[in-house]
C-alpha cells in the first residue's frame, strides 16, 4: 500500500478543495483507474463550490451503474435510487422541496435506455434541476455491455461482432424534447466542464449536461483504444467546440461531438407555472 498523508493534513491555498465536498470516510473510491467519472465529479463539485451552493441544501440523486455510485461520495443529501429512475425520483423531491438544489447524476444506460421515457419528459416539463449525464458509451458496472451511445462497430460483451446499432445523441434528443438548457463537454477540459455545469445549475429550469467520459478498463481495453491518457487525449480528435462549429466540419471519428452550450431557451419553469395557476385557488381556500 502507498503511504499517503491524511487529506486534511495537506496544505490549503484557498482555492477549490475537493476534499471539502467528499465523504472522505468512503475513500478509497471504487472507480477503476483512468475512469472519467472522477474527473466529472470533480468538475461538478468545483462548479457547486463556485456557485456557493450549501451542502445542506444540495440533493444529489443518482441511478444505477458506475454513474450511480458517484453520488454517494458527495457530502450532501444523496439518494441512490433505482435503475433509470433518478429523474422521476428527483421530480418528486424537487416538487416537495423547491428549496433544495437538485442535481441528478446519471449515465448513458440509465438515462437513455431504461430511463429514456423519464429523460424525455423531464426535458419537456422544465422543472428546475440539473441532469449530469455521464456518457462513457458502455454498461461498465455489469461488465461492459452495449449501450445506446456505444459507437458504431465497437466491441462489447453483447456485441461480440461489433455494434450494429446507431447511437443516440443525448443533446439532440434533449433539445427536441424541449430542454431549456443543453450542453456537452468532455472530461479532457475540466475547467470548461466546470463552467458549463455552473451555467447549467444556475439556469432556472431543466438543464442537461452530457459529459463525454471514458471507460478505460472495460470499453477501452476491449476496443484497443489505448491507455487512460491516450483515451482522454483522443477526445480531442472527436471534439468540435460550438465556437468553432463553422470552421471544423470534418469528423475525425465516426462519432464526433459538439461541445459547449448547445441550446438555451427561455420558457416558464414548471413549478412557477403550477404555483401561478393555483395561487388564486389557494388564497380563496385560505380565506374561507
Amino acid at each position: 500500500m502507498n503511504e499517503r498523508p491524511a487529506p486534511d493534513s495537506l496544505p490549503r491555498d484557498g482555492s477549490f478543495e475537493i476534499r471539502d465536498w467528499l465523504r472522505l470516510e468512503l475513500m478509497p473510491h471504487f472507480m477503476c483507474p483512468g475512469c472519467g467519472h472522477g474527473i466529472a465529479l470533480r468538475a461538478l463539485l468545483w462548479a457547486l463550490d463556485e456557485l456557493r451552493v450549501r451542502k445542506d441544501d444540495l440533493a444529489v440523486v443518482s441511478g444505477i451503474g458506475c454513474s450511480g455510485r458517484t453520488a454517494a461520495y458527495i457530502d450532501a443529501n444523496t439518494f441512490h435510487v433505482t435503475h433509470g429512475r433518478p429523474l422521476a425520483f428527483a421530480t418528486g423531491l424537487k416538487l416537495a422541496r423547491p428549496d433544495l438544489t437538485v442535481v441528478v447524476i446519471s449515465g448513458d444506460g440509465d438515462s437513455l435506455a431504461i430511463g429514456g421515457n423519464h429523460f424525455l419528459h423531464a426535458c419537456r416539463r422544465n422543472l428546475d434541476m440539473t441532469l449530469v449525464l455521464l456518457n462513457n458509451e458502455i454498461y461498465g458496472m455489469t461488465g461492459g455491455q452495449v449501450s445506446p451511445t456505444t459507437s458504431a462497430a465497437r466491441f462489447t460483451t453483447t456485441t461480440p461482432f461489433g455494434n450494429n446499432e446507431p447511437v443516440f445523441d443525448a443533446c439532440e434528443v434533449a433539445k427536441a424534447a424541449g430542454a431549456t438548457f443543453v450542453g456537452r463537454e468532455a472530461t479532457l477540459q475540466t475547467p470548461n466542464l466546470k463552467e458549463l455545469l455552473k451555467e447549467a445549475i444556475a439556469h432556472h429550469g431543466f438543464s442537461m449536461v452530457e459529459v463525454i467520459s471514458d471507460c478505460t478498463e472495460i470499453y477501452g481495453r476491449k476496443n484497443d483504444l489505448g491507455n487512460s491518457p491516450e483515451m482522454i487525449l483522443n477526445q480531442k480528435q472527436a471534439m468540435r467546440p460550438e465556437a468553432y462549429r463553422n470552421t471544423v466540419d470534418t469528423p475525425f471519428r465516426p462519432n464526433p461531438f459538439h461541445t459547449g452550450v448547445l441550446a438555451k431557451r427561455d420558457r416558464p419553469e414548471y413549478l412557477d407555472t403550477y404555483r401561478a395557476r393555483t395561487e388564486a385557488l389557494r388564497k380563496r381556500e385560505e380565506g374561507k
Partner: protein, 379 residues
C-alpha cells in the same frame, strides 16, 4: 361544507378526501381504470392545501416521484390498478428499502395483464404482499365500505409515516366506484400520525440506526445531516454493506419493523364468531356479501360468523385463530382463483375444513352463493 354532515360519495372520491384530511401534500399518478377518479380529485384538491399534484409519464415514474417526495419530507401517495401496480413494484421496493413513507392505492380490476379494466376483482392480494422482489416489510389494508375507505386512507398515512413504510390500500373496483353515505370526520393529530424526524447532533448520526421500536428517525434534507439513502443493502450509516454479519443484523431490523407495531397495525372485524360453526373469511365487497350470507344462515338456524381482516398484511393471525377456534369449517369467498385461502389454510390448525369459493369472471360473489357454501361446509 360541514365536515360532520353526512355526504354521498364514491369510494375513490372518499379516498382522495381521506388523503387530504390525512395531510397528504404530494400526489404523482398515471391514468388507469378504475382508479383515475382518485387522481382527478387529488388534482383539484391538493393545490387548495398548498400541495402538488403531478401526472407523470408512466406508472414507474409516478411511484419513483412519490418516493422522492417522501424522502424530501412530503406525505405522498399514488393510486393505480393491476397493470400499474405491477409497474410500481420496482420503486415500491425502493420505498421499503429506503423506508420512505407512502401510500399506494390499488383499485383492483380483473387480471392478469390488461384483463377486465372495468370489472371488479380481488386478484392482487398476493401481489400486495410479495409484489416487489426480495423479502420486504409492507402493510396492506382492505376497506369494505366507502366510509372505511375514508377512515383507512387516513390510517394508511398514519401507519406509513409512523413506521416509515409503504402502505398499500387494496380496494376492489366495486368499493372504489360504489356511492355510499359517509361522514367525513377530520382526524385528530394522533390519528394522522407523525413521522419521527431526526434531531440532535450531526456528528456520528446514523440514518438507519437500530432503535428499540425498529423505526429509525428520518433525516430531513436541509436539516444538516447530509445523509445517504440507497436501494442497496445498507448498514446503519446508510452506506452499502455486503458483510454477512451486518446484513443479517440490519435486515432483521427492517423485516421485523412492522411486527413491533402490531397493536396499531392489526385491524379486523369479527361478527358472530363466538359460537360459529362456520366462519366466513373475506375482504372488500366479498365481505359485504359474506355479511349478508351470515345473516341469512343465522335466520335458518346455522351458527355462522364473519371474520374480516381490515389490515390484510400482515394478516391478523391471532385474531383470526381466536375467531375460528371453535368452528368446524371456514369458507373463503374471494374474487380470484384462491389467494386469501392460502393464508387461511396456513393458519387453520384446529382441524377446520377450509372451503374456497372463487369467482374470476368479473362478477361479485352473491350472498346466496356464500350461503350455499356455508351449508355445504357443514355436510
Amino acid at each position: 361544507m360541514n365536515a360532520q354532515a353526512p355526504v354521498n360519495l364514491q369510494g375513490n372520491h372518499a379516498c382522495a378526501l381521506g388523503a387530504i384530511a390525512a395531510g397528504c401534500t404530494f400526489y404523482a399518478g398515471y391514468p388507469i381504470t378504475p382508479s383515475s377518479e382518485i387522481a382527478e380529485h387529488m388534482a383539484r384538491e391538493l393545490p387548495k392545501v398548498g400541495g402538488v399534484f403531478i401526472q407523470m409519464e408512466d406508472e414507474i415514474a409516478s411511484m419513483a416521484a412519490v418516493v422522492g417526495a417522501s424522502m424530501g419530507g412530503a406525505r405522498a401517495m399514488t393510486a393505480t390498478s393491476g397493470p400499474g401496480f405491477s409497474l410500481k413494484q420496482e420503486n415500491l421496493g425502493l420505498a421499503a428499502m429506503m423506508e420512505a413513507p407512502c401510500v399506494v392505492v390499488n383499485v383492483m380490476r380483473g387480471g392478469p395483464s390488461t384483463g377486465m379494466p372495468t370489472r371488479p376483482a380481488q386478484g392482487d392480494l398476493m401481489q400486495a404482499r410479495w409484489g416487489t422482489h426480495g423479502d420486504h416489510p409492507i402493510i396492506a389494508i382492505a376497506p369494505a365500505s366507502v366510509q372505511e375507505v375514508y377512515a383507512e386512507t387516513i390510517r394508511a398515512f398514519a401507519l406509513a409515516e409512523r413506521l416509515r413504510t409503504p402502505v398499500v390500500l387494496l380496494v376492489d373496483e366495486v368499493i372504489g366506484h360504489m356511492v355510499e353515505t359517509v361522514t367525513l370526520t377530520p382526524p385528530t393529530e394522533e390519528e394522522k400520525g407523525a413521522r419521527k424526524w431526526a434531531t440532535g447532533p450531526r456528528e456520528g448520526f446514523k440514518p438507519y440506526r437500530i432503535t428499540e421500536d425498529g423505526v429509525p428517525p428520518m433525516p430531513r434534507p436541509g436539516d444538516g445531516y447530509r445523509a445517504h439513502a440507497t436501494g442497496l443493502t445498507h448498514d446503519e450509516d446508510g452506506f452499502p454493506t455486503q458483510d454477512p454479519a451486518r446484513v443479517s443484523v440490519v435486515m432483521q431490523r427492517l423485516l421485523g419493523k412492522i411486527d413491533k407495531h402490531r397493536a396499531i397495525v392489526d385491524r379486523w372485524e369479527s361478527l358472530d364468531c363466538e359460537d360459529a360453526e362456520v366462519v366466513v373469511v373475506a375482504i372488500g365487497i366479498s365481505a359485504r356479501a359474506a355479511r349478508a350470507a351470515v345473516r341469512m344462515a343465522r335466520a335458518k338456524g346455522i351458527a355462522a360468523g364473519l371474520f374480516r381482516p381490515v389490515t390484510l398484511w400482515p394478516f391478523p393471525e391471532e385474531a383470526f385463530r381466536a375467531a375460528a377456534r371453535g368452528a368446524r369449517a371456514i369458507v373463503v369467498p374471494e374474487m380470484n382463483a384462491g389467494q386469501l385461502v392460502l393464508e387461511i389454510q396456513r393458519l387453520a390448525h384446529d382441524g377446520q375444513r377450509v372451503m374456497p369459493l372463487n369467482h374470476f369472471d368479473g362478477e361479485p360473489i352473491a350472498p346466496r352463493e356464500i350461503l350455499a357454501s356455508i351449508e355445504e361446509a357443514l355436510t
